[in-house]
Amino acid sequence: MALNKEQIAQRIAKELQDGFYVNLGIGIPTLVANYIPEGVNVVLQSENGLLGMGPFPFEGDEDADLINAGKQTITTLPGSAFFDSAMSFGMIRAGKVDLTVLGAMEVSDNGDIANWKIPGKMVKGMGGAMDLVAAAKNIIVAMQHTNPKGESKLLPKCSLPLTGVKCVKKVVTDLGVFDITPDGFRCLEYAPGVTIDEIKVKTAGRLVIADDVKEMTF
């Protein structure tokens, strides 16, 4: 069975290490916060200007002045710090954020990512995505392996306008976990019940299967 969104988030959460500063993008990445392993302390960065993002507020406690990069009402935690957006992107650019997790429309086998623009459709803008992918030192993409038409989103070359080049380090999809290597996507794990053959069929980019490839565990 392919993973659902929660499971993708859960699998990515296993990549978190104690002491990490982490930026989680909108969508599946946001869900990662719900699966942070016991004993692993991470600090969540929100690029509008907060370190130490806490959970959503209790009903009635929402504060219009306290939102995350997805414009959702949030809370702080002890040790949180606010700052302006220039410092926020400064710390991203300077490599102080250990891990960025974000969604994508397409990823190529050399680590290019496209996630901001579809020609012919209204373009809403890249927000902070281009800054994040250009500068973050470790980028994991969380996405479905194929688009609604069933076409692979893991490509030899992105067809959509790029958000960033050669920046993605790892991709976690509903079918498996893939490192970006000089040889292309390297399959490290497959989802329970998913076959390597299915992954091969649904991956358009160069794909190698790790010798020690294994079924994902939770």
Binding site: G49, A64, D65, L66, I67, M122, K124, M130
Partner: protein, 232 residues
């Protein structure tokens, strides 16, 4: 040194059609609600607005879009706004999309007297088209120019007559950099406090950057994505 003006209408004196304005805020958080309302009343148009977002249909810069006061938006993200989309597709409105960190840093560069900076965002993408690329230590960077503006309009939590400002939580966002980057900077505040009440260690924007300040009224502070959890 008293920079206090009576209200938003007085604060925006001198803003004329065709000017370039910076407007602080991220989404609807920390936006200068009073000055936007005054700009709508004044009816200036053909404005170039530098602002991370363009509001929603009936709030924020969306109110200026309804009145067709904006010629060009310079932003990082302009979703959530049907009228914006209509004007853009019909060619009435021009939009320049800029990565969010680049936008923030180009404002900051102006406030720091730096004419241009080298930034990573957008290298190898269509954002890089026409821009100078330069390699430092094995990495490519884009030369990005400082932004300035005829007027910068920011919203703060507290301020004093000397123009010192303190922001609240994530309502800080773009406001400090834009305050530094206006030829004339207008600050609207929720609380105008007596000079000396803000502790000098806690001031985010020193008064030197602010030319006019007033106490705003009737803040709606609309929430764009109300997300909560239930008490158990």
């Amino acid at each position: 040194m008293n920079k206090v003006v009576a209200n938003a209408d007085e604060a925006i004196k001198g803003i004329e059609s065709g000017m370039t304005l910076m407007l602080g805020g991220f989404g609807l958080c920390g936006i200068p609600e009073n000055c936007i309302a005054a700009l709508v009343r004044k009816g200036v148009n053909n404005l170039t607005c530098i602002s991370n977002n363009a509001g929603v249909d009936d709030f924020g810069i969306g109110l200026m879009l309804q009145q067709k006061q904006v010629k060009k938006m310079i932003s990082s993200y302009v979703g959530e706004n049907a009228e914006f989309e209509r004007q853009l597709l019909s060619g009435e409105l021009e939009v320049e999309l800029i990565p969010q960190g680049t936008l923030a840093t180009r404002c900051m560069a102006s406030g720091y007297g730096m004419p241009a900076v080298y930034l990573l965002a957008g290298v190898g993408t269509e954002v890089a088209e026409g821009k100078e690329v330069r390699n430092f230590n094995g990495k490519d960077y884009l030369l990005e120019y400082a932004f300035d503006s005829d007027f910068a309009i920011v919203k703060a939590w507290k301020g004093d007559a000397q123009g010192n400002l303190v922001f609240k939580d994530t309502a800080r966002n773009f406001n400090p950099m834009m305050a530094m980057a206006g030829k004339i900077t207008i600050a609207e505040v929720e609380e105008l406090v007596p000079v000396g009440e803000l502790h000098p260690n806690e001031i985010h924007t020193p008064g030197i950057y602010v030319h006019r300040i007033f106490q705003g009224t009737d803040y709606e502070k609309r929430i764009e994505q109300r997300t909560t959890r239930k008490k158990n």
